[in-house]
Symmetry: C2
């Protein structure tokens, strides 16, 4: 698996400093940042980077399938760089922490035909909600 900047260049993207920094911020597991958080962190390495630019880059990366939007309960969308290994999310209703879950003993995600209502299903997204270890034992 090649790294992100490399893949982007292959897709004909101009490799700008802004894009490189955003790609760098969006790296790792259990990373689910809001656009604003991405902007803040990117600013530490590239102080002149504009908010709108961050939004542009995030939208482009989503359109390319390189990152995924994660809908939480907050107003702000969060972005998940781990778009290539399909996984689900565990959200703590106490502190808001989001963790990735990689289906090991895969919970059956296939919907039985009669329940499919004629849809052609392409993706299945599972969100587990509950309390994380820290919030469970206060």
């Amino acid at each position: 698996m090649s790294n992100l900047p490399e893949r982007l260049r292959e897709r004909g993207w101009r490799l700008t400093a802004q894009r490189r920094v955003v790609a760098e911020v969006l790296t790792g597991d259990h990373v689910h940042l809001t656009a604003d958080e991405v902007h803040t962190r990117a600013s530490r390495q590239l102080p002149e980077i504009g908010r709108a630019t961050v939004y542009n880059i995030l939208n482009d990366l989503v359109a390319l399938g390189e990152i995924r939007e994660v809908s939480t309960d907050d107003r702000a969308k969060r972005y998940d760089p781990n778009a290539h290994r399909p996984h689900h999310h565990l959200i703590c209703t106490g502190c808001g922490t989001i963790r990735d879950v990689h289906p090991t003993a895969d919970p059956t995600t296939t919907l039985p035909a009669p329940a499919r209502l004629g849809f052609t299903i392409t993706t299945t997204e599972i969100t587990y909600r509950g309390l994380c270890p820290t919030c469970t034992h206060p």
Copy 2:
């Protein structure tokens, strides 16, 4: 299962015209309206109803567990009145239609212990995405 206005009165709610109308708008299966759509429909029956009032009522109903927020890809949250029979959602990536799916042959939603990362899971939410019959056969 008693109807909504009745249950609300039992919980000490003042039964106002606004609340009755919002409750009425939020009735049925496959209903997933945005706050603005709820306001528009409610206005047809009660022209003076204010947008803020609709938001207040929706938030209260969510807090009481009478309706559920549905996170979609749009900016605006949607509200699902069907909070008592647990179910999942089928979203058409073509036209945005959302349909309820009641787990018949229940897809295993229990996460194996090692994958749980110490969380105490209370709810599982599945979102299937794909094309609805209409968008599949254009």
